[in-house]
């Protein structure tokens, strides 16, 4: 059953990869990358149980935290062309 779930998650990752490659906009690609990362975390959890090594979950938690940061960083970079730029609220205050 763990193997079946792992297989389903792998197939879902393949479909998300199709979306990441086809685009057509950068937001589709970011969305697909985000989904692939979510699925990778699930895969880590399921495979950890499959092989009796649940300590894979620690890697999953770390990856989940990194995933949010990377998604927001890419989106901010795409909107402003710069990661060091202040937000509009900060500019208003200055």
């Amino acid at each position: 059953m763990f193997a079946a779930a792992a297989l389903a998650i792998l197939m879902a990752m393949g479909l998300a990869l199709v979306r990441a490659l086809r685009g057509p906009t950068v937001f589709d690609r970011v969305l697909a990358a985000n989904s692939i990362a979510t699925l990778a975390i699930l895969l880590l959890a399921v495979v950890g149980f499959l092989f009796g090594r649940p300590e894979f979950l620690d890697i999953g938690i770390t990856y989940g935290l990194l995933n949010l940061i990377s998604t927001l960083a890419v989106l901010k970079f795409w909107r402003f062309g710069d990661l060091g730029r202040a937000s509009e609220e900060e500019e208003d205050r200055a």
Binding site: V26, L31, L75
Partner: protein, 124 residues
């Protein structure tokens, strides 16, 4: 039936349902017509798919540190997935992508302050 069999069965059902939802979400990610509807499909993977699979794994793990980590993971998804989706929707709207609307709805009313270009509705 004794309790462990029932718990086992429940966890298999949850994991099976979760796998199904994950597959449906991924299929929606490929098949949906524009970014905003694809976000909806991806949201299914993040919430119900991940939630069901991790809940099934919690039943397998029993009362231990492993299940605590799984709960932390569910909490992580619960908070980060909406934030990421919201940021993505805002970035897409600011990037000039218009959501696909039905014929009779008014884009200007939906758009508000966002610089949406009416001509650019890249679907697939």
């Amino acid at each position: 039936m004794n309790l462990s069999v029932v718990v086992d069965l429940a966890s298999w059902i949850l994991i099976g349902l979760g796998s199904l939802v994950v597959m449906i979400g991924a299929l929606g990610l490929v098949r949906m017509p524009d970014v905003f509807t694809r976000m909806h499909a991806a949201g299914m993977i993040d919430t119900s798919g991940a939630g069901l699979i991790l809940a099934g794994l919690i039943l397998q793990a029993g009362f231990s540190l492993v299940s605590l980590k799984l709960v932390v993971l569910i909490g992580l998804f619960f908070f980060t997935s909406p934030v990421a989706t919201h940021a993505l929707a805002r970035a897409a709207l600011y990037g000039g992508l218009a959501p696909r609307l039905s014929e009779d709805s008014d884009l200007d009313k939906v758009a508000g302050d966002y610089p949406i270009a009416r001509a650019r509705t890249p679907g697939d």
